[in-house]
């Protein structure tokens, strides 16, 4: 069990959190502690955000460390750069906790090389649903600024899957962490959580000397509230999907577009298994099935894709919610997958993205571990 951090660097309270964070990132570049920083930046049309790997510190002034929306998963952005092996550049990635957890899962799947990568997290109040933001970006900006200003980590406007997230703060795998949540006057802390993190602090000439226990207590309070909300929401989700009829009804709008899979950071397969010939039947089978049952729905295998995708990636699901954002027919994919993932991960006492060294349960086994099926069913949390 990792030692709980009790000290952090106190950061000036006069500036906006964005400016404070950008200042620290600039210091990292200047001191050559890192060669480039991966941060979100508002696009020129001001209607969305993109991930930009920044080398020139002048560009950093445009960075928005905590963007109101999450159009692209940070893990996917990082993976597109460091998939093919260790980069010669030292990179710091400033991402939401769920994006960092997804990064860890991807590194276990050889899709991200984490040598020379410093992972920086921050207290995430949640993200706004993409649809709401796109309808009125300026309003979205205001809403999110308000949330941060008021430290409203229980705001109604955030994504449903964010409302039940209890891993929104410092992670065991974070190298560094910015405390956006704080219960004193605008005091933000920078916490080093690993050897790498400590090294970076040293290189930028900072020392963790302030106690952060007040912050830690505040965070724990919110975590407890979120955990209770999760339990309640999962009871509702269970009703939505339990039993074949409920499952079909919940996914009745699905058109098989596979947006959920494209947006998901864990689903990295170039050709999804469910698009391969193993699954897509030739016409002779299609006709055969139609004749046997009297009719079949087209396109085929839509529910199979959903359940199949669950079986493939639920062990690594970090409940980031990009799937729901991407779904054109507003199916609450994220909450459903989060519920299923919670239960499948529980079977192996596995928490996705928590521990770099812990292999994904499907990739390993213990000689004695199979439970009776009845126990498994009873265990599925209500």
């Amino acid at each position: 069990m990792k030692k709980i951090q009790t000290k952090g660097v106190k950061i000036s309270s006069n500036k906006d959190y964005r400016d404070s964070i950008v200042d620290i990132l600039k210091k990292m570049l200047q001191s050559k502690s890192v060669d480039a920083v991966l941060v979100p930046m508002r696009v020129p049309a001001k209607d969305s955000y993109a991930w930009i790997l920044v080398k020139d510190e002048k560009l950093l002034t445009e960075a928005d460390p905590a963007a109101p929306i999450m159009p692209i998963q940070g893990a996917r952005a990082l993976s597109s750069f460091s998939r093919k092996g260790q980069s010669m550049l030292k990179i710091a990635a400033l991402m939401r906790p769920c994006e960092i957890r997804a990064t860890i899962e991807l590194s276990k799947l050889n899709q991200v090389n984490l040598e020379n990568v410093t992972l920086i997290s921050y207290d995430c109040p949640g993200a706004l649903p993409m649809e709401d933001y796109l309808n009125d970006p300026e309003k979205g900006e205001k809403k999110f600024n308000d949330i941060l200003k008021k430290l409203d980590f229980q705001n109604k406007s955030i994504k449903p899957v964010c409302k039940i997230c209890d891993q929104f703060s410092l992670l065991p795998v974070s190298d560094l962490h910015f405390t956006l949540f704080h219960d004193q006057n605008n005091t933000m802390f920078l916490i080093a959580n690993s050897n790498r993190g400590n090294l970076v602090l040293k290189e930028i000439g900072m020392e963790a000397s302030h106690t952060v226990s007040a912050w830690a207590n505040g965070i724990q309070e919110i975590k407890d509230k979120r955990a209770a909300q999760k339990k309640g929401r999962f009871t509702q989700i269970k009703k939505m999907v339990e039993g074949f009829n409920s499952l079909l009804a919940t996914f009745s709008d699905c058109i098989g577009c596979h947006n959920c899979q494209s947006a998901c950071p864990i689903c990295y397969c170039r050709q999804c298994y469910f698009d391969s010939e193993s699954v897509t039947s030739g016409t002779d089978l299609t006709m055969l099935k139609a004749k046997k049952r009297g009719s079949i729905s087209l396109p085929q295998n839509r529910i199979m894709f959903q359940v199949g995708r669950m079986s493939h990636m639920s062990l690594s699901c970090v409940s980031c919610g990009l799937c729901t954002d991407a779904c054109p027919v507003s199916i609450p994919v994220a909450e459903i997958f989060s519920y299923v993932a919670h239960n499948t991960q529980k079977q192996f006492s596995y928490s996705s993205g928590e521990n770099k060294g812990e292999p994904i349960p499907l990739k390993t086994f213990k000689l004695e571990e199979v439970k009776g099926i009845q126990e498994l069913v009873e265990d599925a949390e209500a």
Binding site: A45, L53, R76, A263, T286, G294, S297, L298, P299, P328
Partner: protein
């Protein structure tokens, strides 16, 4: 000369009678049509072999959960044809796929209709279809534009099907509520429906009768194209429009013309070594990740835009609400014009990039 079937029922009921006849008398091995699902207000496409299950079909509903042309292309081996009721744009996309060896015309009895436009996906999601339908029916029967159809549909001038074996008259058909009129064009259709005992007359299907609607649609198209100002705003304009693209490739996935199992832009060709990305980073000072956002769009335009039939599925599924279908139709039309090509018009009209004339465009390359 076309054979006209007149059935003294509502157009939908009459069509269902025809489909029932085909299936009951084993003239076709199945019927492909939209139908109601078990959940109220939800619909999908189905392949039906049991005539008893035909009571649930809604073949003329203005819905497009998926582009049917794409689905028909997956049906290759057939002993007997399947009767498919699809929209004119879906039919055009199927023809485009047949040209690319991605489908077989012989496998189908293609029934289409004069189309008043499709509703967006949100209509089904928000359970509004049943409430919208009566108004939709009345508006379309009067030959007017229903305000809630897809924007790209309001700009569609090809609402009269090309290449259908049979066309159901819907648009501007004032008696659609009580009389069903179906025009049989092909010998295949006339033969298969020989035993179908309804009033049969000879008449020519008048395409010119829709000129007024066509003009209205063309006008709207010009307006819609003008709204996307990319022609004048250059690269910055492109970045404005496509800046929020997340590279999910949903547009390509639902596009009927994009049939490639592994899209070129998802292949390892675009999986760069670190050194290349590091070079770009050094040069620009900042690098967007994942890369090739705009490149993908232009690449896809160069691959298929001239075959774009304007169904609008791409816009419907885009998570960033980018008006993909308008841009693709606009560019596609300009490119197709050069070769006097209209996608889906004629199965013998080959795709412009697959052929050439030895003597054409003689000025290019010689200056």
């Amino acid at each position: 000369m076309d054979q006209v079937l007149t059935i003294k029922k509502s157009t939908e009921a009459g069509l269902i009678d025809l489909l029932t006849y085909l299936l009951k008398n084993k003239k076709v091995s199945g019927v492909c049509s939209l139908r109601k699902t078990k959940k109220q207000g939800k619909f999908d496409y189905a392949l039906i072999t049991d005539p008893e299950l035909l009571h649930d079909v809604v073949p003329l509903h203005p819905l497009m959960p998926v582009n049917a042309g794409k689905m028909l292309s997956n049906m290759i081996k057939m002993e007997m044809p399947v009767a498919a009721v699809i929209k004119p744009c879906e039919l055009r996309s199927f023809i485009e796929l047949v040209k690319r060896s991605q489908g077989k015309l012989e496998n189908f009895l293609l029934i289409s209709y004069t189309c008043g436009g499709a509703l967006p996906l949100t209509a089904t999601v928000e359970n509004k279809v049943d409430t919208m339908l009566p108004d939709y029916g009345k508006t379309v029967a009067a030959g007017n534009e229903f305000e809630h159809i897809r924007e790209i549909c309001k700009a569609c001038e090809y609402f009269v099907p090309f290449n259908a074996d049979a066309t159901v008259s819907l648009l501007g058909e004032t008696g659609a509520d009580s009389t069903c009129k179906i025009f049989l064009h092909s010998d295949k259709a006339k033969e298969i429906l020989q035993g179908f005992e309804v009033e049969k007359t000879e008449d020519e299907f008048d395409r010119t009768g829709y000129d007024q609607i066509r003009e209205r649609r063309k006008k709207y198209k010009e307006e819609l194209f003008k709204q996307i100002k990319i022609q004048d705003t250059g690269l910055d304009g492109m970045i404005d429009v496509f800046g929020r693209c997340i590279g999910c490739h949903a547009c390509s996935r639902v596009c009927p013309i994009c049939y490639c199992v592994l899209c070129d832009f998802e292949s390892s060709t675009y999986d760069y070594d670190n050194t290349i990305m590091e070079q770009e980073l050094s040069r620009k000072g900042g690098l967007r990740l994942p890369s090739d956002t705009i490149l993908y769009q232009i690449g896809r335009l160069s691959h298929m835009s001239f075959s774009c039939i304007g169904c609008g599925q791409c816009t419907e599924v885009c998570p960033s609400d980018i008006p993909v279908s308008v841009i693709f139709r606009k560019c596609g039309e300009k490119v197709a014009e050069i070769f006097e090509y209209i996608p889906g018009r004629d199965v013998n009209e080959q795709v412009p990039v697959t052929i050439f004339k030895e003597e054409e465009f003689e000025e290019i390359g010689e200056e």
